[in-house]
C-alpha cells in the first residue's frame, strides 16, 4: 500500500532519518514509535509529501509520491496533525466539510452526497451536537475529534495520526482510537500512528516501527519489538511486556528509568535526584 525505500532526510546538514525501509500493508494499524526528537514526525510528513526526501522513494500503490499532485495524495491520505489550534471562527461543520475539498473542482459546491458524508463523519466521532459551534471556542480534545471527523470525511485509504493522544482526556483517547480501529476493521483503512505513548501503541497497533538513532531499530509486532533490551536502549527505561489479566491483553510495565538506576547503583548522591 504505502511503501518506503531508502528514505533519508537532513535538516540543515543534520541527519534526521537515514535509509528507512518500510512496507505498510492495507488495513493494518502501524505505530511509529520512538523518543522525542527521533524523527517520527518528520517520517510522517515524508509519508504525505509535506516534506520532500533527501533521497529515497515513498510510493502509494506503486506511484511515486513526487510524481502525483497534492490533490491526488489528499484523495488517498488524510492527516490528523499534532497541533490543531485554529484561531478563526469556522463552524465545526465548515471544518469537517473541508475533508471534501480534494474531491471538488474550483467552483463546484458540495453536493448533498458530500454533505451526507460530512454528517456521517460527525456522527461517527460524536460531534453532531457541536456542528454549528465555532471551532475556536472548543477544547483541544474536541478540536481533535473535529479534525478526525474531517479525516473520515475525506474517505481516505490511509490515515496518518500524529501524537493522537497528546491533547485528549483519557476517556477521549480511547474513544478516538477505538473509532479509528473500528474503521480500520470495517473499511480496510490503513492507519499510521506516530507516538511516544507506549501503552497506547501496544494496545492499538498491529505492528510497531521503533526508530532510534535516525534508523529503523526494530520492526514487528509489539511483542517482538518491545523487548526489555530494546526499551532500555531506545527509551532508557527498565520495562517489561506482560500479560495483564484485567486487560486480557499484553501491556507494558515501566519499572523506572535506567539513568536513575545507574545513579542509585553508583551508591552516591541519589537523594539529590529524587524523582
Amino acid at each position: 500500500m504505502l511503501n518506503v525505500k531508502g528514505l533519508s532526510f537532513k535538516y540543515k546538514e543534520r541527519p534526521v532519518l537515514e535509509n528507512i525501509d518500510l512496507d505498510i500493508k492495507k488495513g493494518e494499524i502501524i505505530g511509529i514509535l520512538g523518543p522525542n526528537g527521533c524523527g517520527k514526525t518528520t517520517l510522517l510528513k515524508l509519508l504525505n509529501r509535506d516534506l520532500r526526501p533527501e533521497s529515497g522513494v515513498v510510493s502509494i500503490d506503486g506511484d511515486d509520491l513526487k510524481d502525483i499532485t497534492k490533490r491526488a495524495i489528499a484523495q488517498q491520505i488524510a492527516v490528523v496533525p499534532q497541533s490543531n489550534e485554529i484561531r478563526f471562527a469556522f463552524s465545526v461543520r465548515d471544518i469537517v466539510a473541508m475533508g471534501r475539498m480534494p474531491f471538488l473542482e474550483r467552483f463546484q459546491v458540495e453536493s448533498s452526497e458530500d454533505m451526507r458524508i460530512v454528517d456521517e463523519a460527525m456522527e461517527k466521532t460524536n460531534i453532531t451536537e457541536f456542528a454549528d459551534r465555532p471551532i475556536n471556542t472548543m477544547s483541544g480534545g474536541e478540536r481533535q475529534r473535529v479534525i478526525i471527523a474531517r479525516a473520515i470525511a475525506q474517505r481516505p485509504e490511509i490515515i496518518l495520526l500524529d501524537e493522537p493522544t497528546l491533547h485528549l482526556d483519557v476517556c477521549h483517547q480511547f474513544e478516538a482510537l477505538d473509532l479509528v480501529r473500528q474503521l480500520s476493521k470495517d473499511e480496510q483503512l490503513t492507519v499510521v500512528i506516530v507516538s511516544h505513548d507506549l501503552p497506547m501503541v501496544v494496545k492499538y497497533c498491529d505492528r510497531i516501527v521503533l526508530i532510534h538513532d535516525h534508523k529503523v531499530f526494530a520492526l514487528g509486532t509489539p511483542e517482538e519489538v518491545l523487548t526489555p533490551e530494546n526499551m532500555r536502549i531506545v527509551f532508557n527505561i527498565e520495562a517489561v511486556m506482560e500479560y495483564d489479566p484485567t486487560l486480557k491483553a499484553n501491556s507494558v510495565k515501566i519499572l523506572g528509568s535506567t539513568t536513575m538506576r545507574k545513579r542509585a547503583g553508583d551508591g552516591g548522591r541519589s537523594g539529590d535526584h529524587a524523582p
Binding site: 510528513k45 504525505n48 509535506d50 499532485t69 497534492k70 490533490r71 491526488a72 495524495i73 489528499a74 484523495q75 488524510a78 492527516v79 496533525p81 497541533s83 489550534e85 485554529i86 484561531r87 478563526f88 471562527a89 469556522f90 463552524s91 465548515d94 471544518i95 473541508m98 475533508g99 475539498m101 480534494p102 471538488l104 474550483r106 467552483f107 454549528d132 465555532p134 475556536n136 471556542t137 475525506q154
Partner: protein, 337 residues
C-alpha cells in the same frame, strides 16, 4: 442561521449600494432632482442634465463601483492570506508602490506606449515589487508577525510616497494634477479609463473568488491546507498577483484611496464569520457600497465651496480612526494573533 445572516448582509449591501448610486447620480454643481437624473440617464431632459449624468456622473459611479469592489475584496484576501486583521493594500504599502509607477508614467512620456496603458502597467510592476519587498522584510522564520508586517508596510509605503512627492516636485507644471491624484480622486473619470480598469479589476476579483475555498483551508495554518490537497505556494502567488493587479489598476486611475480594504472586510467578517466563499463576494459588494458612500459624502460636504474634496481624504477620515480602534482591541478579539 449563518446562512440566513449571510443572505441578509447581501441584501443590505445591495440596498446601500443602490441608494448611494442614486444619490450620487444627482450630484452636480446645481444638484438634480431624482426624476431629472433618472430621465437624463436615458437621454431625456436638458442637454446639460443629460451631459452631466451620462458623461460625468455615470463614469464616476461605475469607476467607484469597480475600484471599491476591487479594494474591498483585495483587503479581505490579504487579511486571510497573512492571517492578519490589519493587512490591506493601503497599510501594506501596495497603494504607495502602485502610485510610484503611476507617477513615473504620468511624469515621463514614452513615445510608443500611450499613457493610458503605460500608467497602469508601471503601477502594476512597482506594486508587485513593493509587495515582495514588504513580504520579504517582514517574513521571519516561516511566519509573518503582525508587528513587522505593519511596520514594514508603513515604512516602505512612506519611503515610496516620499519618492512620489519628489517626482511631483520635479514635475513642475503638472504638479497640481499629481498632488490631487495622490489624495485619491474620482472626479474627471472618463469612459475610456473604465474600459481599461474594469477588465483588470474583474479579472483580479475572479481569481480571488476562485481561490476562496483554498483560502479557507490556508487560514487554518500549519500544514492543514497542504494536507487537504491545496498547492499552497501556487495559490498564494496567484492571490498576491491578483491583489497587486487590482490595487495597481485602481491606483493608476483614481490615485491612492486608503482604508477601504481594511474597514469593509473587517466589519463583514465580524458579522458573517470567516468563510471566504461568502466573505469575498460580500467584501466586493461592501467595498463598492462604502466607496460610493464616501464619494457622496465628499460631494455633499463640498459641493458649493472650493471644489470637490478628494475621496481619499474621506475614506481616511473614516478608516484611520477605525484602524486605531482595531489596534486597541486586538487582544480581546477572537481569531487573530
Amino acid at each position: 442561521m449563518r446562512r440566513r445572516r449571510t443572505a441578509v448582509v447581501f441584501v443590505a449591501l445591495f440596498l446601500i449600494l443602490f441608494a448611494f448610486i442614486v444619490l450620487d447620480l444627482t450630484q452636480a454643481f446645481i444638484p438634480l432632482t431624482f426624476s431629472e437624473a433618472f430621465w437624463a440617464l436615458f437621454g431625456v431632459g436638458s442637454d446639460t442634465n443629460v451631459y452631466i449624468v451620462q458623461n460625468t456622473n455615470m463614469p464616476r459611479v461605475v469607476m467607484a463601483i469597480f475600484v471599491g469592489a476591487g479594494l474591498g475584496i483585495a483587503g479581505a484576501v490579504m487579511q486571510a492570506l497573512f492571517r492578519n486583521p490589519m493587512a490591506s493594500p493601503y497599510i501594506l504599502g501596495l497603494s504607495s508602490g502602485a502610485s510610484l509607477g503611476a507617477a513615473i508614467g504620468l511624469t515621463f512620456t514614452v513615445a510608443w506606449i500611450p499613457s493610458l496603458l503605460l500608467v497602469p502597467l508601471l503601477s502594476f510592476i512597482t506594486c508587485m515589487a513593493t509587495l515582495f519587498l514588504v513580504y520579504s522584510i517582514s517574513h521571519v522564520g516561516g511566519r509573518v508577525p503582525t508587528e513587522t508586517l505593519l511596520l514594514a508596510g508603513i515604512a516602505v509605503g512612506s519611503f515610496l510616497s516620499a519618492i512620489v512627492s519628489l517626482l511631483t516636485y520635479m514635475a513642475g507644471d503638472e504638479l497640481q494634477d499629481i498632488v490631487y491624484w495622490t489624495m485619491g480622486n474620482l472626479t474627471d473619470v472618463e469612459w475610456e479609463n473604465i474600459l481599461i480598469v474594469a477588465p483588470l479589476i474583474a479579472a483580479g476579483c475572479m481569481i480571488m473568488i476562485s481561490c476562496s475555498r483554498d483560502l479557507n483551508a490556508m487560514m487554518l495554518g500549519g500544514n492543514h491546507a497542504q494536507d487537504l490537497g491545496v498547492e499552497v505556494a501556487k495559490v498564494r502567488v496567484q492571490l498576491l498577483i491578483a491583489s497587486a493587479l487590482v490595487t495597481a489598476a485602481a491606483v493608476a486611475f483614481v490615485g491612492v484611496i486608503g482604508f477601504v480594504g481594511l474597514v469593509v472586510p473587517h466589519i463583514l467578517r465580524i458579522v458573517m464569520g470567516p468563510d471566504n466563499r461568502a466573505l469575498l463576494p460580500a467584501s466586493l459588494l461592501g467595498g463598492a457600497a462604502f466607496l460610493m458612500m464616501c464619494d457622496y459624502i465628499s460631494r455633499v460636504i463640498t459641493a458649493q465651496s472650493i471644489g470637490i474634496l478628494p475621496i481619499g481624504i474621506v475614506t481616511s477620515l473614516i478608516g484611520a480612526p477605525y484602524f486605531i480602534y482595531l489596534l486597541r482591541r486586538r487582544k480581546s478579539e477572537v481569531g487573530w494573533d
